[in-house]
């Protein structure tokens, strides 16, 4: 093919995509070129599906102890006789013919590592979703209001942010965790707080923790939101909307937010690995999930004591943690590159 023909084809390709190439479509194309980023996103979607479908994928519950087979090594298959069949099920149907244990090995009390890993995805993803959402919500609202209001209100709000920026989060989080764990045991079962406490217990005692993590990390988001709002505030379409008589709320929700939400989401997704780490760290020092709920961090903690003779207890959750963080990092990088490249034109 000659260069000219290639060029024509490219033009034609552009035409096939449609008349006006919206920024989002541009970005998607750019993103798709970045193979690693796409792989990252695919992995994350895969993990999400796994988390949702967890009971379908696991032969055991995450707390089922097979006391006869503790610390089994990975890839050793043990056919369990019908005696143990009742513990072994496929989505509520007990398997009468027994089942083979142990893709990844088992832990100290014979719990299947594979099943615990699958359920562990729920914890890691929950922290990602809850903390990120809380942080995004508080941060973007705060930042938008501050940027939009401008003047003294803006000044004051940013001063407050600077103020809060200096608070050391980890020590505070550690102490808050202990506090929340106590609150959640106080046995209040009614009303909104009761519902929250029940939700907390369902998540293995982590809901409040995630809220706390998100609540302590909204500051960067707020700054970013404010910056974005400031730069968009000057644009013509805002002027135009105001001239037409649109209310402030309308301007914010219809014109500003859709534009700024992109970079904010990207920034937030780049922060997600940090949240996952934080949860792993807290579980590692014993302040995270309540046993028996599995979290990759708590599994590392439990397995760490036996690392000399049973390295799989640490390596399996460790590698999984690293892969998930990698995926978020690559995806986040890719998203950022995709949106930026659009702005700058092709390199």
């Amino acid at each position: 093919m000659t260069t000219a023909e290639k060029g024509l084809e490219q033009l034609a390709g552009d035409k096939v995509l449609g008349k006006g190439r919206s920024p989002v479509q541009d970005a998607v194309r750019e993103f798709r070129r970045n193979k690693i980023a796409v792989a990252g996103m695919a992995f994350i979607i895969f993990v999400v599906l796994v988390a949702i479908a967890a009971p379908l994928l696991t032969p055991y519950g995450f707390a089922t102890q097979n006391l006869d087979y503790p610390r089994a090594k990975p890839m050793t298959s043990v056919v369990i006789t019908t005696e143990f069949a009742e513990k072994c099920h496929w989505y509520d149907t007990p398997l009468e013919w027994g089942c083979t244990l142990i893709l990844f090995g088992s832990d100290n009390v014979g719990r299947d590592l594979y099943s615990r890993m699958i359920y562990g995805t729920r914890v890691s993803l929950s922290v990602a979703v809850v903390a990120a959402s809380v942080s995004l919500l508080i941060g973007s609202v705060y930042g938008t209001i501050s940027g939009f209001a401008g003047g003294r209100a803006d000044n004051l709000m940013m001063r407050i942010v600077d103020f809060l920026y200096a608070i050391p989060t980890l020590p505070i989080i550690i102490m808050m965790t202990v506090y929340f764990q106590a609150i959640s045991r106080m046995g209040i079962h009614t009303g909104f707080i009761g519902a929250l406490i029940t939700l907390n217990r369902a998540m293995g005692g982590l809901f409040f923790l995630f809220v706390a993590i998100g609540a302590l990390n909204w500051i960067g988001m707020a700054r970013m939101a404010r910056g974005q709002v400031l730069s968009y505030k000057q644009k013509e379409f805002v002027e135009a909307a105001r001239a037409v008589g649109a209310s402030n709320g309308h301007i914010i929700s219809r014109h500003l937010l859709p534009n700024i939400i992109g970079p904010l989401l990207i920034a937030e997704s780049l922060a997600i690995p940090g949240y996952i780490f934080l949860e792993a760290i807290l579980s590692f020092i014993g302040l995270g999930v309540q046993p028996p709920t599995p979290s990759w961090g708590s599994m590392i903690n439990e397995g760490y004591q036996g690392i000399l003779s049973n390295p799989h207890l640490v390596l399996v959750p460790g590698i999984a943690l690293a892969l998930l963080t990698l995926a978020f990092n690559f995806m986040g990088d890719g998203l950022r590159d995709a949106f930026d490249a659009r702005l700058r034109g092709r390199q």
Binding site: Y165, I167, T169, P171, L308, V314, D333
Partner: protein, 323 residues
């Protein structure tokens, strides 16, 4: 600039007060106290009351806070509740230098490897070297300390027996209260923890340096420089580097915070007598004064760190002026 620094310091004072208040209240809110049990055996109620009275823990919270604050202003961080012969000041003097040394070494390692690596990657953009470096960087950022630590111990400490697997190798008294005696024993102990902590930092720094330098290199003035010739290229490259380091400097602040977190884990794994490890331990023991004191120190470090970063930022980017 001086006025800016002074103003920032003044603003920090109420922040510090807030940190103390929040930490104090949180610590009081935690259920259970320091004198409930020892070694998993409960302490008789009679003795518990005596001990609480001795340390003023039976007084109302506002009175306790007031007393604490007054002592704090005199430089007294309070007593240790479970170790009678020691005060919080003693514990800080013993543990802070270790955390500080670890953090500094990790930073040096991180930036010392990260910046050159990022530069190399950026200058060889889109080559295999670049991809390899980027990949390595992302992996480095993604592997958590708490996996890297035990793996390092297993590999270099136990299997290969190159390095010792625990302890810091430098004890009090420290030089100028902060620095260790740099002998071979110290270095051999310091290698594994520093690598465990510094890898994540170097990876992050490499990514940022690369990204920043790439962005700068695509600017027009660079293209012009390329056209113009060698000497000017050098001058402008240095200028480019300075600009590229701006995003690196921006995250220096949060990096400090990350190092503070990271030392916690590394100290735990490598049995280092640092602040992070003592903090975790004192949460379980409900050492009220130590908890508040350490939180306060972390906060002050963060504030000073952020201030240093902002000043550095201004130096790097002449467009930024504080007044």
């Amino acid at each position: 600039m001086i006025k800016y620094i002074i103003r920032r310091l003044l603003v920090s004072i109420p922040v510090v007060f807030l940190i103390i208040l929040v930490a104090f209240l949180l610590v009081q809110a935690m259920p259970g106290g320091p004198f409930d049990a020892s070694n998993q055996k409960p302490i008789p109620a009679v003795v518990r009351e005596i001990l609480e009275r001795k340390y003023g823990l039976d007084k109302p919270v506002y009175e306790q806070f007031f007393n604490y604050f007054v002592n704090l202003l005199q430089g007294d961080l309070g007593p240790m509740l479970r170790q009678r012969g020691q005060t919080v000041n003693d514990v800080v003097a013993q543990t802070f230098p270790v955390s500080f040394q670890l953090g500094m070494l990790a930073m040096i390692l991180g930036y010392g490897i990260g910046v050159p690596a990022g530069i190399i990657a950026a200058l060889n953009h889109n080559s295999t070297l670049d991809y390899a470096a980027t990949f390595a960087a992302v992996v480095g950022v993604s592997v958590p300390n708490l996996v890297l630590g035990p793996v390092l111990i297993l590999l270099f400490g136990v299997s290969l027996d190159w390095f010792p697997i625990a302890f810091w190798g430098a004890d009090p008294p420290f030089i100028l209260g902060l620095f260790p005696t740099p002998n071979a024993e110290f270095w051999s102990h310091a290698v594994l923890p520093t690598v465990a902590l510094g890898t994540g930092i170097s990876a992050g720094v490499a990514r940022l340096t690369r990204a920043g330098l790439l962005e700068v290199l695509s600017e027009d003035y660079i293209r012009t420089a390329r056209a113009k010739g060698l000497k000017e290229r050098m001058v402008i490259l240095i200028h480019a580097l300075k600009n590229a380091l701006i995003p690196v400097a921006t995250v220096l602040g949060p990096q400090l915070a990350a190092i503070l977190t990271g030392t916690l884990i590394v100290e735990q794994i490598f049995a280092l007598n640092g602040m992070g490890r003592r903090f975790i331990h004192s949460v379980q023991e409900r050492e009220y004064f130590l908890l508040v004191g350490l939180t306060l120190i972390y906060g002050v470090l963060l504030i000073l760190g952020n201030l240093t970063v902002d000043v550095l930022y201004a130096w790097l980017d002449p467009r930024i002026r504080y007044d």
